[in-house]
Symmetry: C2
Subunit: 447 residues, 2 copies
């Protein structure tokens, strides 16, 4: 059904039948419109935007990727953009402006009425990924001395423009946060009861500067539908709702996954990101790791004599590097994710260390014996095969423990633990692996 | 504050001052109690459970990890467990029973009244991670011919036991789903208006067998607060609310992350998982990769003569393996995550392939030149250094493209793309790397 609608729209645009198109778009939900136009060319999208009601247009526009938003800003007339940008949510507007060149920003800001312009600039001043960037200024608030009836009247009156009416915020006279009220508390109470008697005092809240990851964590742990955002004087300035959090949890997971593969984070989606951004996010890591890896090459070059005597020793080198890297990658991944989810804390490092040494030894024993047996496929020299098995056993213990410890080191030095993973672990495991392997081999072979 | 409360509780338990403890626990939210007792011993937790109101006890109990739930089931008396299990949410109850040994399950089921027992068994019959497992049977429904006033009365009457009253479900006479109604639609309408005039027909819904990942995707895309779950005859049987989805999105991200590091998924948290589960989830992968890696060792052993002539060739082997593995790890990670988020689809494989060959060539050129220069640290043999540089260039293109293509292969064969990542890519890149490296080197050195 989805595809069918897209074909229809494309055809209608080609035929120039904008009347039918407008009829088709009327009364559609923004999510539906977004899906309908998702695979259209940007120029075709521009046509659709001209036909949409301004509120829907603003909502759909907010859902687009930033490169498309930028293209549309250039394609649409000033009047058209003005109407869209005026109807956008303040936080979406700030996100858009953050991505655009300075001259376009200045122009777009001039389209806004004075108070909205100031509000937008204020949001842009909050740090990236902070609660201030996310929050909405549209919420319903009441005071403790109101009756349930009066509070409900207020909800009915101001609720249409609010982001949520399911959580109502209770404030003191000086606008500091006093508590929250669920809409159901109002519905299930007698109308003459005072808010004071049914509200929840001292609720969880965040500051405008709180990181979005922390906001998500708090809302998840307390099953909150909306959370209050306060300024430094604890005055209520905005709210964040659960649907924002869903996006953030996915975003944060993506960030961690990218970092764990040794890349800088790419925030935009694959096809909306230019290849050069990927080069910029990936190459420095590969480059740094290549240089770090020099050390391991140096180690190997010191054993040139041993290799000249027993060239077959080289056949096991990649095995040592791979197995160590894989085990270290597993343990670092487990620990990074557990740290991110709060299952493990910094103070647990010693317990984790002991556990991972133990696990490394079990897995190392199995793999060491396997390699010893497997290696008869390659050479019948028992001493070489024995060295390989013992070296692998030790490398497994070492890599597994180092992989588990590096995220703690990161956390301790306030570096994102996700960076301390896969590729870095592989390279360290590689260096240590070569040292262990050649030390053991030369010892056993008596070179 | 959190730590202080924990100390207090521990002290109170040690002193046997259960009266103060009970007072302290009274009227606390389940989330707060859960945080307070999180770090207590299980036996201490058992004491706390005896003092809690049964509804709160059930809610806190649901939040515990399954190994602790099991221990508590053994520690508490039948009467105590009976009261907890009776007050639990049906889906939480099913989750608990799923983890327990069969004899305990039979006993616990016997504690439930007949209709709840049947309901629980029904939930247990739905596949793991399906909507049927997640859904709650507690929701408010109305029919189209009701007035807004009558609907609101129904919300007031049945809302207290419902999981949400913010979305109300509209059904036909035969209990099939007709549409949904937001609570605000009721609040903002005149009382004599009919539901028919204000409800949203044909809403998104899922079947009981739909996978939870799909449910999350749908709710996220349509910004839904709750979604209807229907049976095969499209009759409304339950609902899933947004707070369940938040947990699922995190769970699915964790699953992908674990798979991407070459592990089976560990669903329980680090310290609540026995070391043997980790061995079981990690070792088979390491073992399989070690065997797969034999091929690469065989390739190297075929070049024993070349290595005997130029043992220094071995110094670059780990570099080839590492760099190829890292680049392939990056590209596979990017593609896996983009596939998971729906940014890329199966049909895009060719576009992705061309892009990643291009990116691999750019990055390979930079790294190849770097390695060529760097290698003079190790040997002054220009031919060897040149071979290393050229081989790295080719390996980068190959690994980067293979890393990007493997997730598509997985998706095509209906294997989770996340499995097609890091360690597997590393091992394939390693095999190809050795082939490329030694072919180039023997060609250039004329061996």
């Amino acid at each position: 059904m989805k595809v069918k609608l897209q074909v229809d729209i494309k055809k209608l645009i080609e035929r120039g039948d904008f009347r039918t198109l407008k009829l088709l778009l009327e009364d559609q939900d923004a999510n539906v419109v977004f899906e309908m136009i998702e695979e259209l060319e940007t120029s075709e999208k521009a046509i659709v935007f001209r036909l949409l009601h301004k509120d829907i247009a603003a909502e759909v526009f907010s859902k687009l990727e930033s490169d498309e938003q930028f293209e549309l800003v250039r394609m649409l007339t000033d009047e058209e953009i003005k109407s869209i940008i005026r109807s956008m949510e303040p936080s979406d507007r700030a996100e858009l402006l953050d991505e655009l060149p300075a001259d376009v920003v200045t122009k777009l800001l001039s389209f806004l009425p004075k108070n909205e312009r100031e509000q937008t600039i204020e949001i842009l001043n909050y740090p990236d990924n902070s609660a201030g960037r996310l929050m909405s200024p549209y919420f319903v608030y009441v005071t403790k001395d109101m009756t349930v009836e009066k509070a409900l009247t207020k909800v009915r009156k101001f609720g249409k423009d609010a982001d949520t009416i399911y959580t109502i915020f209770v404030i003191e006279e000086d606008r500091t946060l006093a508590g929250t009220l669920e809409l159901e508390d109002l519905l299930f109470s007698e109308s003459e009861v005072l808010v004071e008697e049914v509200y929840t005092p001292a609720p969880a809240y965040v500051k405008t500067t709180t990181d979005q990851e922390e906001v998500a964590e708090l809302m998840k742990n307390y099953d909150l539908n909306a959370i209050a955002v306060v300024d430094n004087d604890l005055r209520l300035v905005g709210i964040i709702t659960i649907d924002d959090i869903v996006d953030i949890i996915e975003e944060e997971a993506t960030e961690d996954i990218h970092k764990m593969a040794g890349m800088n984070v790419t925030a935009t989606s694959y096809f909306h990101t230019s290849p050069f951004v990927f080069v910029k996010n990936r190459l420095p890591w590969l480059f740094g790791l290549l240089l770090l890896q020099s050390l391991s090459a140096l180690v190997v070059s010191r054993y040139e004599n041993a290799l000249a005597l027993y060239p077959i020793l080289a056949a096991f080198m990649a095995t040592m590097v791979d197995a160590g890297g894989n085990a270290g990658g597993q343990s670092s991944t487990l620990i990074i994710r557990s740290l991110a989810l709060g299952d493990i804390e910094l103070k647990d490092w010693w317990k984790v260390f002991l556990r991972e040494v133990y696990l490394g030894a079990i897995m190392g024993a199995v793999l060491g014996v396997t390699l010893f047996l497997r290696s008869f496929m390659i050479t019948s020299n028992v001493s070489i095969n024995f060295s390989a098995g013992v070296a692998l056993f030790l490398i497994m213990i070492f890599s597994n423990a180092v992989g588990a410890m590096l995220p703690f080191v990161g956390k301790f030095f306030k570096i994102d633990p996700a960076v301390m993973s896969g590729p870095l672990v592989t390279t360290i495991a590689d260096l240590a692996g070569m040292l262990i392997y050649f030390s053991i081999a030369t010892l056993i072979l008596g070179i």
